[in-house]
C-alpha cells in the first residue's frame, strides 16, 4: 500500500481517453437530470408550491399536484430517459454491457 503519497489528479488511471470522454458525458447528463429532479420535487412541490397553487390542473392546485402526484410521474420519466440515453451513449463509445 502506498504511504505518504501526494494526490495526483490522474491517480491510478486505467481509463482510456474514450472512457474519460464517456464519463464526462455521463456526468453532464447526471447534472441535467438531477437538476430536473430537484426542480419538480423540492422546487415545484415545496419551495414554489404556494406560488404554483394559484394555477390548477383539473381540481388540483398545481403546487399540491406536484407534491402528491406530479413529482412521482416525473421521477419515473427521469429514470426511463436516463436508462435509454445511457444505453445510446454506451453504444456510441463502445462501452455497453
Amino acid at each position: 500500500m502506498a504511504e505518504n503519497r501526494p494526490y495526483a489528479p490522474d491517480d491510478g488511471v486505467e481509463a482510456s481517453e474514450n472512457e474519460k470522454a464517456y464519463w464526462s458525458q455521463n456526468i453532464r447528463l447526471l447534472w441535467t437530470l438531477m437538476t430536473i429532479w430537484f426542480v419538480v420535487s423540492f422546487g415545484a412541490g415545496i419551495l414554489f408550491r404556494e406560488f404554483l397553487d394559484q394555477f390548477a390542473i383539473g381540481g388540483y392546485p398545481l403546487g399540491f399536484w406536484f407534491a402528491q402526484q406530479g413529482a412521482i410521474y416525473f421521477f419515473i420519466l427521469l429514470i426511463i430517459f436516463y436508462s435509454v440515453r445511457m444505453k445510446q451513449i454506451e453504444r456510441q463509445y463502445d462501452l455497453d454491457d
Binding site: A2, I76, I79, E90
Partner: protein
C-alpha cells in the same frame, strides 16, 4: 360466505403460495443465498424491489397519515419515491458493476479497510433492526384485527412463514415470493381504491378522481370541498400544511437520501445480470411503487371526506356499524363533551393520550373513556389513523371478499419487507463479519450454514421485538432513514464519484454523520421528549429531517479529513475506473 371465513381462505391461500414458491426456489450456494445467483430479470427484480420497499407502513398507515395531515403528507409521497431516482442515476449501476454481495462489501473494498467494513455493518444492523421490529408488529396487528388471533400468536405465525422462505431460499426464495407478494398487495390496495373513487367522484381511477368534482351535485372539486369542510370545522385547509417549509424540505430530503442508502433496497440491485439492468430495474421498481404511491393520497382524501360525512353530528345511536366495530378494537373512541348524544369532530385532542376504556357503557351505549379531559376544544372523537385503510372497505360498504383481500395485502406488505431486511442482516453477519473479517478460512458450505443460522437468529430477535415492542420502536422509525442518509449514502456516493476520497475520510465521515444524527434523534425522541418542539430544533428541523444535516456533516468531515491524509492506493483508482464503465473488461 361470512367475511371471517373469507379472510381465513384468502390469507391461507396466500401463505400456501409463498411456501410453495420457497420450496421451488431453494438456494444451493452463497451466491444464490445472497444475490439470487445474480440472474434475476430486471422487471421481476423491479417488482420484488417494490414489495421489499413497501412495508406495513406504506400499505396500512400512509394513506391515513395523509388523510389527517393533507399537504404535509407529501413528505412521504415525494420522499419515499424520489430516492429511486438517486438509486438509478447515482448508485445502482455502479454497485452492480462492482459485483459483490453486500453494501459493507463495497465500503470495505473501496476504502481498503476492515474498520470501514465493520462500521458499515454496524450502521446496517442498526438501521435494519429498527425497521424490522415495526414489520413484525404489523404482522401481529393485522392478525389480531382481522383473524381474532392474539398479537403474539400472529407474530409467531409470521415468523414461521418468513423462516421457511428466507432461511431455505435466501435471496432466491425471497425474490420470487416478493413478486407474489407484490401482486397480492397491489391488488388488495387498488380494488377498494377504485370502488371508493367511483363512489365519491364517479371516476374509478383514483389519481383522476382526486382531481375531479364530487358526485353530489355541488359541482365542487374533491379538494375544494375538503378544504371548505375542514375550515368550517376549525382545521387548516387540506391543501395547506402546518409544518414549516424548511422542515418539509428537510424531511423529504432525509427520506429520499435515506431510501437511497437503505441496504435492503440497494442489495436488490445486486441480483440483476448487468449494470444497465440495474438502471432499468430501478425504473420498473418505481413504476410498481408509484401505482400505490399515487393512489394513496386519493384514498386518504376520500376516506377523510367519507369519515366526516358519516360521523359529524351523527347521533351515536345511529353510528354506522364499522364505527362500533373499530371502537370495540380500541381504535375509535367517543366522549360526549357537550352531552348532546351526537358526535362532533374538530381540531385538537378529544382527551389526553390514547383511550383507556372502562368496563361499563355510557348513556348512549358508547364505551366510556377514562382519560384525563381536554376540554379546550370541541373535538369528541378519537381515531387511529390506520383505520383509513383498514376500515375503508367497510366505510364504503364493500363486499366481504374485499375486506379479506385487504387483510392478505397488509400481511404481504409486512412479510415481504421483513424478509428483505432479515436477508441483509444475515448476509452482513455471515459474509462481512465472518468470511471477510474474522474467519476468512470459512468454507463455502460453512458460510452458507452461517448465513442460515444468522437469518434464524435474526428472525427470533425480530419476533421478540414484535411481541414485546420496546416503547421506543414507534418513536425511532426516523432513525432508519436519518441514519442511512447520514452514514451509508455519502460513503457509497463518494466511493463512486470521488477518486480522492480515502479510508480515513470515509470512516471519519460515517462516524461523524452517524453520531450527530443518533444523538439529535435520541435527544428529542428518547431522552428529552418533552423538549421536542420547533423552538428547540436546530434551524427549525425536526428529528425526522435531521438526517440531511447529518449527511452534510458527513460530506464535510470526510472531505476535510481526506484533504490532509494520504490518497487511496493505486488499485483503488483502478477499481473506480472499472466500476464507472458498464462493459466488463
Amino acid at each position: 360466505m361470512e367475511t371471517q371465513t373469507l379472510i381465513y381462505i384468502f390469507v391461507g391461500l396466500s401463505f400456501a403460495l409463498y411456501i410453495g414458491i420457497a420450496i421451488a426456489s431453494r438456494a444451493g450456494s452463497t451466491k444464490e443465498f445472497y444475490v439470487a445467483g445474480g440472474g434475476v430479470n430486471p422487471v421481476v427484480n423491479g417488482m420484488a424491489t417494490a414489495a421489499d420497499w413497501m412495508s406495513a407502513a406504506s400499505f396500512i398507515s400512509m394513506a391515513g397519515i395523509i388523510a389527517f395531515s393533507g399537504y404535509d403528507g407529501s413528505v412521504y409521497l415525494m420522499g419515499w419515491t424520489g430516492g429511486y431516482v438517486m438509486l438509478a442515476l447515482l448508485l445502482a449501476p455502479y454497485l452492480r458493476k462492482f459485483g459483490q454481495f453486500t453494501v459493507p462489501d463495497f465500503i470495505g473494498t473501496r476504502y481498503y479497510s476492515k474498520a470501514a467494513r465493520v462500521v458499515a455493518v454496524i450502521c446496517l444492523i442498526f438501521i435494519s433492526f429498527t425497521y424490522i421490529a415495526g414489520q413484525m408488529r404489523g404482522v401481529g396487528i393485522v392478525f389480531s384485527r382481522f383473524l381474532d388471533v392474539p398479537i403474539t400468536l400472529g407474530v409467531i405465525i409470521g415468523m414461521g412463514i418468513v423462516f421457511v422462505y428466507a432461511v431455505l431460499g435466501g435471496m432466491k426464495g425471497i425474490t420470487y415470493t416478493q413478486v407474489a407478494q407484490y401482486c397480492v398487495l397491489i391488488f388488495a390496495y387498488m380494488v377498494p381504491a377504485f370502488f371508493i373513487s367511483f363512489l365519491i367522484t364517479g371516476n374509478p381511477v383514483p389519481q383522476l378522481g382526486l382531481g375531479s368534482t364530487v358526485d353530489d351535485g355541488s359541482g365542487l372539486y374533491v379538494l375544494q370541498k375538503l378544504d371548505l369542510v375542514l375550515q368550517d370545522m376549525g382545521f387548516g385547509a387540506y391543501t395547506d400544511g402546518s409544518k414549516s417549509m424548511i422542515d418539509v424540505f428537510c424531511i423529504t430530503a432525509a427520506l429520499m437520501i435515506g431510501t437511497a442508502g437503505l441496504p435492503h433496497v440497494i442489495v436488490r440491485f445486486f441480483t440483476v445480470p448487468k449494470a444497465s439492468d440495474a438502471r432499468k430495474s430501478a425504473g420498473w421498481a418505481l413504476v410498481f411503487i408509484a401505482l400505490l404511491y399515487t393512489t394513496a393520497p386519493a384514498v386518504g382524501a376520500f376516506a377523510r371526506l367519507n369519515f366526516i360525512d358519516s360521523v359529524q353530528n351523527t347521533e351515536y345511536a345511529e353510528a354506522p356499524a364499522w364505527f362500533k366495530n373499530w371502537e370495540s378494537n380500541d381504535l375509535i373512541a367517543w366522549r360526549d363533551k357537550n352531552g348532546d348524544g351526537k358526535m362532533q369532530l374538530g381540531k385538537g385532542e378529544p382527551f389526553k393520550g390514547a383511550p383507556l376504556f372502562a368496563e361499563e357503557a355510557g348513556t348512549n351505549g358508547e364505551r366510556i373513556v377514562q382519560n384525563e379531559a381536554a376540554d379546550d376544544n370541541p373535538n369528541e372523537v378519537y381515531v387511529d389513523r390506520d383505520i383509513m385503510v383498514l376500515a375503508n372497505p367497510e366505510i364504503a360498504n364493500l363486499p366481504g371478499w374485499v375486506i379479506a383481500l385487504v387483510a392478505a395485502g397488509g400481511l404481504a406488505a409486512a412479510l415481504s419487507t421483513a424478509a428483505g431486511l432479515l436477508l441483509v442482516i444475515s448476509s452482513s453477519i455471515s459474509h462481512d463479519l465472518l468470511k471477510k473479517t474474522f474467519r476468512p478460512k470459512i468454507t463455502e458450505k460453512g458460510e452458507l450454514l452461517a448465513a442460515r443460522l444468522a437469518a434464524t437468529a435474526a428472525i427470533v430477535v425480530a419476533g421478540y421485538l414484535g411481541i414485546y415492542p420496546p416503547g421506543w420502536v414507534a418513536q425511532v422509525v426516523a432513525f432508519a432513514f436519518g441514519l442511512a442518509a447520514a452514514s451509508l449514502f455519502p460513503a457509497i456516493f463518494m466511493g463512486i464519484f470521488s477518486k480522492r476520497m480515502n479510508r480515513e475520510g470515509a470512516i471519519a465521515g460515517m462516524v461523524a454523520g452517524l453520531s450527530f444524527t443518533f444523538l439529535y434523534i435520541g435527544w428529542f425522541k428518547l431522552w428529552s421528549p418533552e423538549s421536542n418542539v420547533a423552538a428547540n430544533w436546530l434551524f427549525g428541523i425536526s428529528p425526522e429531517g435531521i438526517g440531511v444535516i447529518g449527511m452534510v456533516l458527513n460530506f464535510a468531515v470526510a472531505i476535510a479529513v481526506a484533504k490532509f491524509t494520504n490518497a487511496p492506493p493505486r488499485e483503488i483508482g483502478q477499481l473506480i475506473d472499472n466500476i464507472r464503465v458498464p462493459r466488463i473488461r
